[in-house]
Structure formats: C-alpha cells, structure tokens
Symmetry: D2
Subunit: 458 residues, 4 copies
C-alpha cells in the first residue's frame, strides 16, 4: 500500500498535453457561460461573489499577466485590464474594488469574450513558437487550475445571483433530475497512526500539480476515530430542524448563534420556507431527502454535528481516508450541478424528508452496525458537496509560498477560515485530489458545502 495521495500519479504535462489541456479548460469556461445573457453575466449579488463576466476576464488576465507578460517586450491587449481584472495581487499593482465589479457594464461581455480569444490566440502562437520554458509551463498549469477554481465560483456565484432575483430564474432548464436512495450511514473506525498527508511541493518536488498550501507532505498523528460512511443527507438535516436545532443556543458556536439570529437563518441557504423545495441551478425543485445536504455554513455543519453527538472530521482524518479511494463521483462533468444521493448511481429506495430519522439513529447505527471489512470504504468523499472539516485553514509545517506575486495565491488567507475537502457537483474532476484544501469563512454558505460526521473512538 502506498500512502501517496491519489493525485500524485499524473506526470508533468508534456507540451502537447499541456496545449490540449489549455484548450479544453479554456473552452469549458465559455461553455459554462453560454446559458447566460450579457445581463446575467454582470450581476454581483454580494461582495463575496463576482459577475460571470469578471470571472471570464480575470482568468484570461491571469494568463496574460503571469505568462505572456513575462516576455520583456510584451504589449498588453488592453493595458486598462490590469487594473480592472486584477483580483488581489498587491504586488502587481492597484486594482478595482471588489465590491464594484458589478458596475462594469464596459467592457461588454462581447469585449471580454473577444479578449479571451485574443489571449488564446497569443497563447497558441507562443505554444507554436515554443516560447514557454519550464517555469512558464508551470505557470500555465497553475493558470489552468486557477481557471477551474473560477469555473466553480462562476456557478456558485450565478446560482446566488439568480436566486436573488424574485423571478427565481433557472441557469439551465435541461439539467438532469436523478434520484435514488441514501445508503444507511455507518461509522468506519480507524486506529491511531502516524500518517503522511499533504502533497510534495510542486513543482520542485512533486510529480503532479498541487497548490502550495497542500505542501509539504508531512507526518501527522492521526488519533483513533470513526468516520461516517457518507455525507449527511437532507432528510437527516430536516430532522435537526424539526427537533428545534436552530432554536437551541447550546448547540451553536457563540458566533454562529449570533449570526443565525441576526440574519434569521432557519434552514439551508436555498431551501424554501416550506422545507420541501429548494432553489437549484435548474430552478426551484423538490428537495431530495436522500441527497447530501448542501449550502450550509460552518456554523450549521458544526451545530448539526453537536446535535448528532458527533463532530466534524479533521483534515488528517479526511485526507487519510480519501487517499485510499479513487477521485470519482458527482462532479461538474456529470452535468447535474446538484448533489445527488449515492443511490442515484446504484438505485436505492428513498424516505420522505424527516419522516423516519431521529437524532438517536446516528448513535444507534454506530452501535448496531459494527463495520465489516467489506464495507469499510467511505462513499462520496469526492464530488457532490464540499465537506466542512474541524480544521482551521493554516500553514502546514514547512509551508513555503510560491515565489513572487503568485505567493499571494493562498498563504495570505490563512486566517479565520475553515478547510473544506472533497470537491462538489460543480468542481472539475481533474482539478481535485485527496490533498486538495478549499477554505471559506464560517458564515459562508453559497458554496456547495455540506458535511460528513466523525467521532472520537471510545
């Protein structure tokens, strides 16, 4: 058995593969934006979100600024984009205020798409000329992962934007509705061990891409614990609501209690007041009781776990489990754009929401169902929903930021956020790996964020 993470198997892209990948990832952004009108692509519904048009422009600027402009005599497509489409790279220069991205009617979507084409053409020329040395190839690789991150944000941001519209328009009307039963939740026990997590520092040491915040690969002590076999379902979360979860102060972190009362949170972000329907990228639909619960803040995930007599897993626990399974699941490629029950793949029966679930079920399950070896594989670690962990987002021991402006990519956000793992129904499969660390603030819930339970071993 190898303790190497799942993602470490892909070699550095040879130029041909890199070119192909560049084309594919860039084309994917246009596909994702295709259902949007120029007006849709301009909405910024809150400070944390960005307009789709901005995502399209910023990811393009990234290649222009960090790859093409590395050439001394490079002339920008339009030098004004440096100010408008820089996100947060202080080293590069001043930038347009994030909260005002939604005011940019100019450049138009058409201009931005044209900007994309011009940069892609310049990239193609440079590829053809063999202009990119190893370091620039690495930056291209980084730029592609960067663009994949923004593709997911484009989806979560437009979901929020459309939901803010009283008309509740769908992003697409042709999304597949799949259903299937949830498998019973089981506790998978693991013994104490010194394990290795993290990815070798790319590009110096690692064979496959990883962000700087996943490195270095290092030893950590994993204590004995049990991990839930699957994420928490909508039905289970409904039971928490029905049991008064949102009204019980002692279930909540102090900041969480303040927040849910200040903003009158009483259910997941996109659930309707009847607790029967939810807004999805396909419009308002019935909530599937067996699908993983989604669009929770860390506060809600943490409160649910406390209510269930459990806790959230740590990064070490999560990654150690994930390193042993393939990166498969309900990703953006499945074209559902909503979490689905595991049974959507295998076809199980489904109970109505809240009908048959009680808090004690989780505990009883743990007692009644000692894990058989054959069952000892967690489901849905990848895809469907990002899983909040108990770990604050912090530097690994020995962490080094990327050099230069790109060092601002991850490290400077290591404060006040929590790590989420595993990717979602809006993530690209090849963007993910066991060591991947996503991070958001505890109140954030517009991402496809859910949870999986864990427990200390007795």
């Amino acid at each position: 058995m190898s303790s190497m993470p799942a993602a470490a198997v892909r070699a550095v892209d040879a130029p041909a593969a890199l070119i192909a990948r560049y084309r594919a990832v860039r084309a994917r952004s246009r596909v994702l934006a295709a259902p949007l009108s120029a007006e849709d692509a301009m909405v910024q519904s809150m400070a944390d979100a960005s307009p789709a048009k901005w995502h399209l422009a910023h990811t393009t600027w990234f290649f222009e600024r960090f790859v093409l402009a590395a050439k001394a005599d490079y002339r920008a497509v339009d030098e004004r984009w440096d100010y408008l489409f820089n996100s947060y790279y202080q080293s590069v220069g001043p930038m347009h205020a994030r909260i005002h991205r939604g005011l940019l009617s100019r450049p138009s979507l058409a201009q931005v798409l044209d900007y994309r084409e011009q940069v892609d053409a310049r990239m193609a020329d440079a590829f053809a000329r063999g202009d990119f040395d190893r370091e620039l190839q690495q930056r291209i690789e980084l730029g592609l992962h960067h663009e994949q991150q923004h593709q997911e944000l484009l989806l979560t941001d437009i979901k929020h934007a459309l939901w803010c519209n009283p008309l509740k328009p769908a992003y697409r009307d042709d999304l597949a509705m799949t259903s299937g039963g949830a498998s019973p939740m089981r506790w998978l026990r693991r013994d104490e061990a010194v394990v290795e997590i993290g990815a070798p520092a790319w590009p110096l040491a690692g064979d496959g891409f990883a962000y700087d915040n996943e490195s270095p690969r290092h030893r950590a002590l994993m204590l004995a614990h049990a991990l839930a076999s699957r994420p928490v379902s909508n039905a289970e979360y409904r039971a928490f609501i029905d049991d008064g979860g949102y009204r019980s102060a002692t279930l909540w972190l102090s900041e969480g209690w303040t927040r849910i009362n200040a903003e009158a949170w009483r259910r997941p972000l996109y659930w309707e007041e009847d607790l029967e329907r939810e807004f999805t990228l396909g419009g308002v639909r019935a909530i599937d009781p067996d699908a993983p619960v989604c669009h929770l803040s860390y506060f809600e995930a943490d409160a649910f776990a406390r209510w269930a007599g459990a806790r959230l897993p740590t990064e070490v626990e999560w990654e150690h489990a994930a390193a042993q399974v393939a990166v498969e699941g309900n990703f953006v490629e499945a074209d559902r754009l909503s979490p689905a029950p595991a049974g959507a793949l295998v076809g199980a029966a489904s109970a109505a929401i809240g009908e048959s679930f009680a808090r004690t079920d989780l505990q009883i399950a743990a007692e009644a169902a000692p894990t058989k070896a054959a069952d000892n594989t967690p489901q849905q670690l990848f895809g469907d929903v990002w899983e909040w962990t108990a770990s604050a987002y912090a530097a690994y021991p020995g962490f080094r930021e990327m050099p230069g402006a790109l060092g601002e990519y991850n490290g400077k956000f290591m404060c006040g956020q929590q790590v989420l793992r595993g990717g979602s129904c809006a993530s690209a499969r090849e963007h993910l790996r066991a060591s991947y660390r996503n991070f958001f603030y505890p109140p954030d819930r517009w991402q496809f964020s859910g949870l999986r339970l864990a427990k200390d071993a007795r």
Copy 2:
C-alpha cells in the same frame, strides 16, 4: 399683467393631443435609452440611482397599474411586474427593495422593451375605443409628466453609473460642444410685495397640469431683495475653491462640514482632480469657465453663497421672477446634455477658470452696476442647472395630496429636503413651469444642480 404662472396657458389635452403626446413622450424614453447596451441599462451605481432598464419598466408599469388596471377585468401583461416595478407606492402593495434593482438581469432589456410595446399597444387600443374617462385622461397626463421626470433621472443616473466605471465611457460621442462667454453677473432688485405663487390645484381648479405639491396658488410676502442675473459660473466656483472654500469651517453648515470631510469632497462631483476637466455625458472634457457650475450639493451651494457674501434665493423670490419670463433655455431638446454659458447663444468672450475672478467681484459688481431697467431680466432661470433654493421642501398652505395611491407621489417626501427650481439641460421643456418644485437631500449632487445668488436688500 397677470400674476398667473407661465405654465398655466396650455389647456387640458383634448384626446387627440393627449394621444399624440403619449406617443411622443413614450418614444422619447426609447430614444434616450438607445445609446445604452443591455449591460449599461442594468447598472445601479448607488442606492439613490436606478438602472435605465428599471426606469423604462417602472414608467410603463405606472400606466399599466394606474390607468389600464382601473378597468375591473384587466389582466396584467405579467403580474410579477407589480412587485418588481413598483417604486414606493405602499398602498399598492409590497415592492422589490430599491437597493437591489441592479441585480435584475431578468427581465432582460429586450423583455422590458417588449413590455413597453405591449402596454403602448393596449393604450393605443383603449385610446381608440375611447375607454378613458376624464379621470383616466388626467392620470395619463400625470403618467406622462412622471415619465419625463424619469427621463431626466435616466440621464443623471447613467451619468453617475458611467462615471463609476474606471474606463469613463461616454454615453454618447456626438454631443455638441458649445462655448460662449458668460455675461457679467448683476444684481436685480425687487421691492417688498404680497405676491401670488403656486399653481391652481390640478385637475380641479387648474387649466394646466401641475403636481399637487405646487398647489394651491396662494399669497406670500416677498421681502425686498436682489437676485443675481444668472447662475454662478464654473470660473466663479473655481475661485471659491482656490480661496480655500473647502477648508474653511465657518463657511459651512455643520452637516455640510462633516460630510465634505467624511467623503473628502474638494470640488464638484464630476470635476477631475486637476480642476481643469470634468466628466460629462459626452465623456471627459475641459471645463468651460463660463458655463454654470453644476453637480453641487446644497451644502456646497450654501457655502459658496456665504463665501460670496450672499445667500440662496427663496422659492417665493425665484418663482416671482420666473413667472415673468418665458420657459426657454438649454433643455434636453437642445441635445447638449451639459450646462452651457448664456453666451453660447449670444457669443461673448471667456476668461480662463479662476483667472480673473475674486470674491469681491460679486460685491463690486453690485455696487458698480446699478441695474438699468432694460437689463432687469434674469437669464437662464430655466434649463442648464437646477437652482438650489433656501427653502426647505414643505407643504404650501392649503396643500392637499392627490387622492388614493397617487397621493404618495409628492407629499410623503416633505421632510429634510431642499427645493430646486428651473430645470436643467436634461429636463424636457414642456415638463417645466415657473411653479415647478423639484426636491433633493442636501448632500445630493448627482443631479444637474447649481445655484443662483440672492441678497437681502439694504
């Protein structure tokens, strides 16, 4: 000589004239929106402003809701527009929050234009059928004036929206640049008199349209005073700046001093830091020293007047002077969309900004140039810039709101605002009259707002 106001000459529209006027005003909105892309038409750059698309929809909804829907069996074009396009009529029902108007990518601009066409078609049918009784004809008249107000707001709001864009795009590139010298400022003296101001209450008593807030026509005591012959020019305002006007606490109202420091105001809203160029609907241009200064808050107008040893005129003083001149000037029909010097019409010489003007000039002018009878007509009372007055916006004695939901039109805003008079380069000529009362909050400065000086008589 009659003391009736200038606007009172036009009779109530006969149906044919009303139909023609309906078509003309409605068409004008489309013309004003024509230079805007769907994206431009969606920008809401601050809470006080609305997207152009919203103006186009709201004015249409006004006819549908208050005219067409008066018929018992009326079926709405789309009943969801009642919520989205109600501005502030609490009596009609709940409404979409003003600050979120910029998030409405749906309905699209195309849908809104289609909505306009459908309502116009229904109106045309109803005109043809003679469906509109006298009361509904009056509501149509009101709706047309309402739409003209929003046409001006469309221009001022899009000016602000485009200015917020770091690219500083022009609304139109084909606007005429006109120049010409300012005439010397003279003091026009008037003796104490009991005068009549205001308009007869329309539609009961008045022959011509007037808003409820202009009525009733009533007696008022006008004290002896002198009124400036023209608005304050850019050159004169530049002298105020150069003399440290923005740094002298004692020139300012207390709230004004707090505001200009909190927001670092050091010049009119759209002036550039060099005090030589300003943003216009035609893009960034050189400031014309002879044109009326514009985009001032009440605080700035008041501070300038104090600096100049003068004050702002009262409503009574302003209206009494205006009732004696024709409603002519630089209106939206002139297609300048910027204030212009009086000399733009008559061709006088111009001094560079701030070059030859000092505070004492205003006083000296008053001494040196006793007004000759032939000169005793104030210039530019109408058009160019709205003129801040010293009068708080309040009910006239005997004021009655319109009945029903339309009673919310004017009266409920009679608190905390100041009256402005005379219209601007963005106002429709036929929308104006001597008794017209516009009103904004003291800090507001995104309207075409300037000032004219007055003085107590010695």
Copy 3:
C-alpha cells in the same frame, strides 16, 4: 395692542442685576445635578446626549473661554479643558469627539465642580473689579442663556440615561404628582394678516436678549387658519395608537415610515408596552390621560396631525398667538418635570386613556364649538411640552450670525431640522419668549416634545 413679542420687556441687565442673575443661574445647575452620583453624571446613553458632568463643565468653559479669556494675559484654570469641553466651536480649535464624552472618568465630578467654583470666583473678582465692558456683559448674558439651555438638556439627557438602565431608577423620588382634567380642545380661528414676528437683533437693536436665530424682526404673511386651544393629550394620542396609527403607511412621511419600522416604534419614547405607564424623572408612573403627550418625534407629531385631519402650525401662526399671552406655565420652576394637564391648575375631570376619544372628535369639536370671543386664548403655549411646528429651521430674511466664534452658535445648524416652540416642563421660565426657536431633527424624541394641531381655514 403692541405686536412686540412678550420677551421684549426686560431691559439690558444693569451690572448688579447681571451679577445676581449670574449667581442664580450658575447655582441652579448645581441644584439640578445634586441628585446625581458621580457615576450618574458620567453616563452618555447615546451620541446625541451628553453626560451631566460634561454639561456642568462645558457651560463653565463657555464663560472662561468667551468671557474671562478675552483678557490678553488670562491664564486658564487648566488649559486641557479647552480640548475636552469645547462642544462644536471649530473656530476655537479641535475638540474631543462628542461620542466619547461618556468615557471621561477624569476629570472627576468633584474636579468639575471645583472648576465651576474657580471660574465663578474669577468671575466674581472680575465683576468686583468692573472688568467687563458692555460687550463682555453681553457675552455673559449669552452665557447664562446658554447655561439654561444646557440645564434643560441635562434633564432630558439624564432621563434618557436612567431609562436605559434596566433598573429604571428615578432621578428624584420627591417630584410632585399633580392631576386634573383636560379642557375640551377647541379651534381658535385667525384671519389672514401681514404680521411681524421675530425679535429685534440683540444686542444692537433689541432691548431684551434673543438669540441671533430669532432675528431680525420682520413682516410675514399669516394666512387664515385655526389653532387648537391646547396641546394634544395622552388620551388623544392613545386613540391614534388604538386606531392603528403606527401601522398605516399613508399617515406617515416616507422617512418616518422607514424609521418607525426600522426601530419598531409603536408608542411614545417612554411609554411602557402596556400603554398604561411611562418612565418619568420620578420613575415609572401611570400615564395621565389628560396631560399633553410627550416624547414624540416630528414624524409621530406629523402622522398624528394627518390622522386627525389637521396639520402642525407654522412658526408664524404659533408665534403670533404666543405674542399675546404671558410667558406662564409648567416650567422647571414648578418642579414637576413632567407635562401636566391644564386642569392641574384649575381642576377638571379626567377620562381614562383612549376611552372616549375618537378621530372624529377633533373635527366635531371644530364644528360644534364656534369659538366665542372670551375663549379665544390658547392654553399651555408655554411650558409642558415643546410643540413641533410645520416649519423647517431656517434663517429669517435678513438673518446675521453673531460675529466671531459665537457665530457658530445657531446658524450652522439650519439644515434638516424642524422648529419647536414654547418650552417645556424642563425649561426655565425666564429663558423663554414668544420668539424663541428650538430645533431638533425629525426623529429626535428624547426632548419633552409634543404637538398642537392647526388647520387651514375654510
């Protein structure tokens, strides 16, 4: 009959009278502060209010800074007080931020009282030496009126401060409880006339003291109207509440509607939720149905008037009536510190709150009771409650600010506020006069503010 205002009868103080008055006013501040502990005297319960200790210090600093320090070689008692106890005189220098006045544990109350004694001693010495010329004597006169204003603020500020304490402590336990019936409300009709209001400019033209904002005395046109014979009572206001006044959008100014909903205002500031008891300077007491309603914002006064089919009086209407009655009433000297029914003086019967009053009563009263000549004197114009007027606080025609730093006293606040007239149960009798203009912002309600109705004449 003279149209001169009531206050114009007292001649400028001869030195002996001025010395006596200085002693009396200064002593009064100490008496008012006597029931307060050092801790009480430090509370600042909101930005608009100041700690009692600060009032005691600031009024003292006023004499030191504007009177004693006029002497060239003057040495301050403690030069640090210039920064701490300047309120808003930008011309004098920078000042401690208003919102932080409650943080000043030092100087202690004892030190502030000692500061008072030192300044009083220096003033006494200077009086004895005859140091004060006519101009300084006028500043002393101004300083005494200034201190009387702060005496009232000390009471309203401490009332708010104690009310904010969940213990609801009384300022004093020995305040007299007086009751008595309200007289019926009658409409007093007045014909149109050109009248004179305002005070001659003190000290140049006037015989008696008046603030600059009361001057100059000037002609104004008073239109025909009817004025209510007494202020609105608690019982009448209770009927407005019971009739759904706080839930009817169309009764309210737009800003008022926003405010009452944002802050959940459903009754006067100090009324308890049961609408039966209210917090007073004597602690929580039963509401007297016949006493004038108090602690209303302008929004509430305006909404009540609209509900009652009436309006608020203008300054001109109010002052013209007040100029004809003596300055007598329930002032601070009566030592009630709460509004009282007129009948408290003459002994009428009283109805339970809301029992017998309906909106139509006011209108019926006007019909049924044509005013007899003998009854044509309004009651309670002075004392009890400040009466909100329909007039925005603005400069009178010909207004001139006092020269120098004292020019910041009144003029710079002429924006966004409404005038109140007549003084309250917390005002000093000799501080008041018919021309006196108080001013607060529309949402303010911690002053003893009520209302009197007026109507346009038919």
Copy 4:
C-alpha cells in the same frame, strides 16, 4: 522525566485551603480596583472591554449563581443582578447587552462592593456549615480561576479606558520602573517526537485544576523545529517598523493588511507616534528597548515573524517547551504591570531602540550560536507577555465541555480565534500552567500580547 504538565502538582484543595484561597483571590480583586474612582470603574471604552465595576459584580454573581443558588431554597441578594451580571450564559437566561455595560451608573460601585461582601459572607457561612459537596467545591475552584481571569481583564480594560482619555491618566503612580538588558536571542532546536500535551480532564481525571479546553491530555506529533530563547523585544520590533514593515503588503495576511490600513495602524497599540514613549498603567513612559514588545495583534505578530524569516510556534511546540520549566516570571504579583526585559532580573546591558538590530540578525544569530546544552532553556515563557501561537483555537481530540451552563465557558468560542500562551505581567502566577490556553481574535491587541519566534528545522 515526567511528561505531566507543570500545573499538575497541586492537589485538589482541601476545604481549609479552598477557604483561604477563596479569601485571597476575592481580596485581590478589591485591591486591584482600589486605585479606581467610581467613575473610572464605570468606563467601557469599547465593546470588547467591560467596566471594572462590572468585572467586580460579574465574578461575584458567578459564585452566587453557580454555587450558592445550587441550594434549592436560595434567595438571591438581589434578583435583578441575574440579568445585569450574566455575561454570556444563554442557558441561565437573558442578559444585559454587552455593549451597554458602561451605561450602568446603578448599581453604584459602593453597591457592587456591598454585593461582594454579602456574597462573601454567605460563602463564609456556607463554608462554616460545610454546605459544599465535592461538586460545589469544584465549582468554587472554577469560580476562583474565573475571577483571576477577570482580574487580568480588569487591568487590560482599564488600561484601554484610561488611554482613551485625552488626559492619559495613570492607573497607579507607584509602579516600579525596572530595566535591564535583553539577552541575545538564540534558537533552541528540538527533534521530532510524539509528545503528550494538554491536561487530564478536571475534575474527573486531573489532580489539579484545568479548564475544559486544556483537556484531554493527548498525544501529538511535534516536528523538528527551533524555538527562540526569548520573546521579541521592543528594539527588534522597532527595526521592523523602521524597515517599512507596516507598508509592505506581502508581509501581511490579507485580513491584516486590510485592517492596518483601514485603522491606520503603524505601531503597537500604546506606542506614541514618536516611537519613543508608550502608555502604561503607570502613565506615559519611555519604551524600554529590551523589554518584550507588547499589545500586538496576531496580524502584527505574524507579519513580524514573516519579516524575520521565521514563524510563530504551534501550541504543541510551545507547550512541550513550557512543560519543562517552572511557572516563574514577571506576573501580576511582581507589581510591575508592564513587561520587563529578562535582564531586569539579571542585569544586562541595553541598546537604544532600533539602533543595532536588523532583520538578518535573527538569522545570523541562528547560524553563529549553535545552542549549547546549558543554554537550552527558553526564557520568559511565563509572564511578561502572552505569546501568540500559529494555532487556531480549536477543540483537542476527545474534548468534552463541562456539563450544564458551565459548558458555555470555553467551547462555544472555538471559532476564528488564535491561541496565546504563557500569561503576562497582569496574570496571577497560580492561575497559569503549561497547558493553559488563552484565545483572542486576530485583530485584538489590548491584551498584553507579544510573540516568540519559531522556525522549521532545516
């Protein structure tokens, strides 16, 4: 060698010892409050701080509510204190809003001190009667540690309160000024090991008191690293400032950069603009270059460490080092109430601030001075300044909150905060131990908070 933490040596208090300790701790609060006037004791200078009077009352209420009131028929000294002096125990009932604690002029300081005496008398009676079973004795123990925490807060809160006063008054004028050189900073290297940290769960498993958040004692993997021999000094921090530390975006966490610019932070909280003097509890004094730098936010500590080419230590690293040294140092008992250089105890020479220190010195020191065995003991781990760690405040594996309302003590704050270790010059010696975890938000800097550097081993 024992791996037990330093604090584990004291047995559970026998009643006699507990009584003595109760008296001593309670008396200490009164001593700390003695220099304060009733006015001083009422100041709340920001939402995070509380008035001294409130600390005195709340700690007393803690004993009354959680110890005395455990008896079924207990009658409260004053039942109103339950509302006023509950801090954040939602399980106990509603409470007075934290931000309004500074408005409570009543109860007076005298009343609060009387409340303390009454509760102490009741406690003494109950002690005498032997009323307290083992569980209540444990609550008393907890209450004493709780009070010691508030004693430190009383000092840090009053320091902030007095600093907010423009008079900059001293808390005490008799505090000792001690000086002495800083020892050279050396790197102490430690090898990778699985270590035990944390305290056994008190009272079930532990012999000595520990808060629930310190438990359970558990294994953790400590990686190889080097720890600085002493905290960072004022001189070293001055060099960071002089090198442009506050102007270099790339040194800062993103949130830190935003904060320091939004609030114009350019130096430690209490340093004066000249960087030569600082506000202390003894008033404004010269900064001692050799003393540990203090009143830093986490952002500043983190930025300094990055500038120095180092990082902050983790909890594991810190605690493992601290478990091997005695709990000795500059605590509140030393009566300095300011951090002091190590040399204050041993007398070393001192350099002027910023004179001889450069960023490279820290690195050079590590090269040039391989640690000799005899030197391998870190200095000043306890006392002087709380040391920010790289560890977010989170539950230890196996963490269990205390049962009942006391479960709200620590666990619900495990979000968004960072751990600090070691206590300060304002902490009680017997309150501290190696496993003690303090926690504050990253921007907080009104505690005595500094830092110690660490580095990954090469």
